[in-house]
Symmetry: C2
Subunit: 144 residues, 2 copies
């Protein structure tokens, strides 16, 4: 997900581009880890002291609803956020009978803790994720 995509999404949905939001987007761009609200807040307040936690809470909410951020739970009580993977790749439900493929709105990389990958110093290039099974049409056809 790129800067322009985020700004466009905000504008298209009637949200304003405030300095606070720009700061948040700047932090999230190019951040490979999932960040808590506090982490986002603290990285900004260094050089931009006039930012409240409340605002960060409100804006991660906005951005998550706009499908800009993935919200993930790593088991401590805090929600964590990361920019979604760029569009332009999709995953599918693939029917083993008719071969039809329906898009699925989920990319594993958005929800995976990148820690193990990073620790192994593995440089990710691409990934595959497909679900195979039988679609409703084929299942009812076969039943006759």
């Amino acid at each position: 997900m790129q800067l322009q995509d985020v700004l466009t999404k905000l504008r298209e949905n009637g949200y304003k581009i405030t300095p606070q939001r720009q700061e948040m987007i700047n932090v999230l761009l190019g951040e490979p880890e999932h960040l808590t609200v506090e982490e986002i807040h603290s990285r900004i307040s260094h050089h931009y002291p006039h930012l409240s936690l409340d605002t960060v809470y409100r804006n991660v909410g906005v951005l998550a609803r706009l499908n800009v951020l993935a919200r993930v739970d790593f088991g401590d009580g805090k929600a964590r956020y990361k920019l979604l993977e760029p569009d332009g790749h999709k995953h599918h439900l693939v029917c083993l009978s008719c071969g039809n493929a329906e898009e699925v709105n989920f990319c594993p990389l958005d929800y995976m803790d990148a820690y193990s990958i990073k620790e192994k110093k593995f440089a990710v290039q691409r990934h595959s994720f497909e679900i195979y099974g039988y679609c409703w049409a084929c299942r009812t056809k076969e039943a006759n």
Copy 2:
């Protein structure tokens, strides 16, 4: 993940098999959705009134740490839990240079909201998830 696997994991780690835990496991077995603590509690307290929320909280914690349950965040403030997919399938970091494949401790199906799949009445048979890139060994070799 099957009943026997759960019981074994508990025993092997010195946890006791209490009626409360058995009730919880029964609810989770054969439940395709991710349940909140309250949902688990309420499904049990119908026929087993002597179960406190605290106990459910404690036990989802235990089971998640034992890698029996996946803990997922769907965006409302509540943690949700589901039994992990059965072992016996693994996903990998595959090196595009040397072809080595390292196991990765993450299965997308555990963390995916099954709602869209269910709505489409798609019957899942299997799935693939692999991450491709370059391992550290190959990356340093090439740099020479």
